[in-house]
Point group: D2
């Protein structure tokens, strides 16, 4: 195979962005089909990009001109679609989360193991962000010693009204959990959650402060504040035995204007992680073409992130520290 033909399921904001990128912007990839439960939306995009529109996700997965599937549909459909792609023997990238329910995620693990080869990648794109990748590299080679702390801040400019305090843990924090496991290279052992007061402009939605401890004891603290008003901002500082490494915000220029000197903060995540999305796709395509694995999140990673999420929700409800369940990691996922 010298080219991977891709079908995209779900053409909402993110699916549309991805489809446009895959239609010509990723070496070795060719977009061939799109599908959405809203047929008109899929149809419009298919005309724009000159690809097939299919009415049913099953038809897309089965289509002979689709070598690999990208799942961008609502969270509740992820697992079922992932299982169908596995059944069809086709590589599938699933936007986070892997599944809505734990049993679904376990079904995917079993199906993939039964298939005998890695077919599933979860779209935790931060692993491909040059900043997080550098943090991982520095932990792996130990050049400033072993990790002691990982301080994380995740801020959105504003959030939709359906986002509730528990969804901030269950959904918004997911990228942080995966990033912590990736950077530290180990599992998360326990979780504690403390909530500051609601900001007055976002009643009913508490920011969250999540403290995890990894298997080796490193402390990971995560601020999630989804209504920070000033912009979209993701920060992290890794503290190792003899030094620290921090993310630097992305802008390629610094502006002095109107009594301020510094960076323009973007309103959403797209500019911040544009490189990460591109590099994630390039790595995925290369893996499909060569059979070699990449740094991306596996089904196991997606599953463990769900268990961390479960522990955080329990910790939040109870006010106590909660251990994260630690199922045995199958050899297949080592």
């Amino acid at each position: 195979m010298s080219e991977v033909r891709i079908g995209v399921i779900g053409t909402g904001v993110m699916g549309t962005d991805h489809a446009r990128k895959l239609a010509g912007g990723i070496p070795g990839a060719r977009l061939t089909a799109v599908q959405d439960f809203d047929a008109a939306r899929a149809s419009a995009l298919s005309r724009e990009l000159d690809v097939i529109a299919l009415a049913q996700a099953d038809d897309l997965i089965a289509h002979p001109e689709v070598d690999a599937v990208l799942v961008c549909s609502p969270d509740g459909t992820h697992a079922a679609l992932g299982l169908k792609a596995i059944a069809a023997g086709k590589p599938v990238m699933i936007e986070k989360p892997l599944a809505a329910e734990r049993t679904e995620a376990e079904a995917i693990l079993h199906a993939e193991m039964a298939a005998g080869r890695r077919l599933v990648q979860v779209g935790y794109m931060r692993r491909f962000d040059p900043g997080y990748a550098e943090m991982r590299r520095v932990v792996a080679n130990g050049e400033i010693g072993a990790p002691l702390f990982l301080h994380c801040q995740h801020r959105n400019e504003s959030s939709p009204s359906y986002l509730t305090s528990d969804l901030i843990i269950a959904s918004s924090a997911g990228h942080e959990f995966d990033a912590a496991r990736f950077v530290l290279g180990e599992e998360i052992a326990s979780a504690t959650v403390i909530s500051p007061p609601e900001p007055r402009h976002a009643p009913g939605r508490k920011p969250q402060f999540i403290v995890l401890q990894s298997a080796s004891g490193a402390v990971v603290d995560i601020e999630v504040y989804t209504d920070a008003r000033y912009g979209y901002d993701v920060q992290a500082e890794l503290v190792c035995e003899t030094g620290t490494l921090s993310l630097r915000p992305g802008p390629p220029t610094s502006l002095r204007h109107a009594a301020r000197d510094g960076l323009v903060v973007p309103g959403d995540w797209r500019a911040r992680f544009a490189d990460a999305y591109r590099l994630q796709f390039e790595a995925w395509i290369l893996s499909i073409l060569t059979g070699r694995t990449n740094e991306g999140s596996t089904a196991w990673d997606g599953y463990m992130t769900m268990l961390v999420t479960d522990a955080c929700l329990k910790a939040w409800r109870s006010g106590a520290r909660v251990e994260v369940e630690q199922p045995d990691r199958p050899a297949f996922y080592r």
Copy 2:
């Protein structure tokens, strides 16, 4: 009074620094006497600075040419000396902590209230650091909304071998507790402590991660890492409803040299807080001359910081969240 004549008790590293500064560097202050349990040390300094050396702290406090007393002797002596200064009706600045034991601190509160005027200031100099002062100002005037988070990092280059994991909480973290109360302008309600592993180069001494929650619910997290090797580094980020404010490290220049571009990190706290110490002395002297209060730590502040410390130690030992005792604040200290 147009000039305040000061006696310094304790001429170790910090007492000597302070004495030199007071001997000519602070408007309205004049150093007149020094005392140390090591008479030779006090005597050498008295000759250098052309002031009296006294053998006994009591004599210094009582001396007619001493209008105000600065206590820099070991922690265990702070309370007794503070009480004597109060008894003599002389203003006293006590290096942190206010006292070694809670009952001692309470004795000071009672004595000062009995004296009927504020005589005690505790040397938590960060309140006079321009960065912390700006944080306090921004909280007080609400220009970016109410505080939600205060992220703090306190790192030393290295530490003496007597510093143990519990002393990191009991002693090193003290400045952070006072700074949090000062910036937020309210009491601390609860404490949780989580310890990452010991760094290999400092066995027997765990870094600490302390999570406080203030009366209004703001979350304060404090990393204390006393063996960070790369230098002395104090960071803080205040997160309010619509913006954040961060400390900027101090150097007035940025260096590009030897494959690095950035700041030189000092080895200890003196350069970092030189301005804060000077401004603290200036404010203290001005208060003595005018009778007006300043932003400095009162005996009440010193006492409450001790109660926060007690709660942190209990939280560390138990692994659970511990409420901070909240004695009624006397009208005298409002």
Copy 3:
């Protein structure tokens, strides 16, 4: 055409880098052939990348499986190869400079105009660097007013011994001249050159300070220091009427280690401009596929940069301000 087949002439350091990138890393591009005057070098690369090796540049240009040509051979060969590509009707990207001699450059302009379509692009990749692109955007839309100053610094870690003071102007400064014309969107009118002393570690090679003035009067000052030891560093600050915009150095992380806090400075330009090279290739390929122009340097740009260079050399030799020749810009290049 859905794919552009590319042949690379010259497989030195830069040609090899480019060839590897084109062999799979650029959407729509396919590397098909390489050539070098050192046949063994070309042959080794052809085996590594599984493409044809050709003995003669002419054969590569003429080859039916080569749709477009990338010229990375020595400067003296650029013009002749460019002319042959034009004669063959094939798009050609020429690494800077466009030509070694002015008459050669003029021959290219005439040949391209005679061909009736834009075939030549010069590899001044900074135009595709996100930082310079943002500067250009800000000038073009006038959001901080008209440009008054452009301060530029170009520093290399070290340089080969053949680099002399005049070559610093004639060769190293070329990227700066093109970048200034690009950012300001106008021609350079005059040049003044002042040389500081030679650094002791690089005898015989003076750093240069070049001051240009644009057609509208904006002042462009350029420091070129090719032996700065601490690393490769390109800086620029654009000063407009009501604000300034500065390049930010590239690293995605900031390091605190060994008494320093800041960025790691790379030793050469490859990491700094990796994105610019990639985006330049993507834009070139897209232009070939669609026939639409891109932001890249045209033959006219390459020619005008040569005239700026000539004026700078004269200014350096004479110590006086020298006007840049201003030939009429043909309608073809507007």
Copy 4:
């Protein structure tokens, strides 16, 4: 003498600021008298600060309770007042410039030499700014080699309408000339001036770009833009053989708010150089008390800065490079 009694001549904006600072804020200094050509203004300040108001500058200089004089009156009066202070044998600090006319400056040099001791200091306070002081220190000890370049930017938010293009050179740039001489530790040999266009919002007032070359050949380039709108901003980068040192803007905190992340830029110079003014006064008082010299500008420094200014004005008018006159430096000023 254990205290220096100071009289201030000229109680405009700067004289009033200085008088308030000297009235209690500088160790060893006591403000005793003020004078202004506007008697009411001097009188109001004298009441505020509880000092004498005098009607005539001569009376202030002669007053028995004035040990030292600070001259903050209009530029045209500086030299005459300086000469009178010298005649009275009293130390005098003269706000920049030393004199309005060259012959006046020479008269001061002769008078001071005749007096046989250093009595004059010129208020180029940047020498006491911690950033410039660090630059000087690094040049003096050679830790990153010899200086090659000094890039300077001086920007004001806005300027009064009487400021003309030539006054930008004659007045605004003065601090830069003194700073360059101070940092490099040598004289300025030549000057070239190039003017960009006038900004549209400040017609009749061109920003200026001044290029100096020092005795050793180091190149100093100075942007002076007095209508930069975004705020008051002074930048400098010193480039030495193996590294560079840059000023860092002053704020002790960094703000994220309203889609920006960075520093708040002040509207004028007072906050930026508050430390420098204080340290300059402290050094001046200490010199008077001890007889030891300090790092401040001498009459010679003030004179040489005038000669640099003269050369710049000639260079601006002629468009050519102009040599700075180099009178022999008397042994008295070495």
